[in-house]
Symmetry: C2
DNA sequence: CTGTATCCAAGGGGATACTG
DNA sequence: CAGTATCCCCTTGGATACAG
């Protein structure tokens, strides 16, 4: 019931808990293009349900990564934009993306090799 | 059924799918210290079940991030070590950790502020 | 348009016990 | 010691319908 220095005290775990879910990275990356409305984000991502979009946006807003602005107009208008902290996160995500782009071939090669191995095959 | 440029084609998503789970980052970070045995890893992390350790290790091995060496001895001995690719990933994870260490205070402040807001309170 | 509420299926991951 | 096999719970997230 008590780990060494890991569990919740590990910063990388906390960071991953924030962006490790299915949509956060996508939403943040989309907002990197600039201020967008709820429907615009949904349209650009495609496949995300309104529930998940709102849920993701709320989480990002709560963590100070996204700023939500509501305009009290007749047709409700709500705009979302990255905060300075959010823009910072985007930079990190882009590094992650870059790493992935460079190394994915290696990973796939390793995987193909692993799956083809006669010894420790077995998925 | 077809997103713009995201969904599975997004590299960052692929990278996150690899390290976004509960244990991969912890295991990889632990192995950054050097070659370790199954039990040693479990001991250093604390709280991980043998099932999850093996499962995580298998995934990392399959993706070419970790190298598994089995010694055919009387008391079974299996050692795990990072590959070049794995060491590369560790570098990225450390960047992530660094970012988290620096910005977690901001995130927590934003969260506390959000939770205290009279307007859009409501968890 | 923006967002909420409900229902529900799938899977991750924990506990435990057992095998080589 | 290393790893496997079950069982099972609980969370994530998708579909759908509805409200402000």
């Amino acid at each position: 019931m008590d780990a060494d220095l890991f569990d919740a005290s590990c910063p990388s775990r906390q960071a991953l808990d924030r962006i490790g879910d299915r949509w956060s990275v996508l939403v943040v990356s989309t907002l990197a293009a600039g201020t967008l409305r709820h429907g615009e984000i949904a349209g650009r991502i495609g496949g995300i349900t309104p529930k998940m979009l709102t849920q993701t946006l709320r989480g990002l807003e709560r963590d100070g990564l996204v700023r939500r602005t509501v305009y009290a107009e007749v047709p409700p208008r709500v705009e979302y934009a990255l905060t300075g902290l959010g823009r910072d996160l985007v930079g990190l995500v882009q590094q992650l993306t870059r790493w992935a782009e460079v190394h994915i071939p290696d990973v796939e090669a390793a995987r193909a090799d692993y799956d083809a191995r006669p010894t420790a095959s077995r998925k």
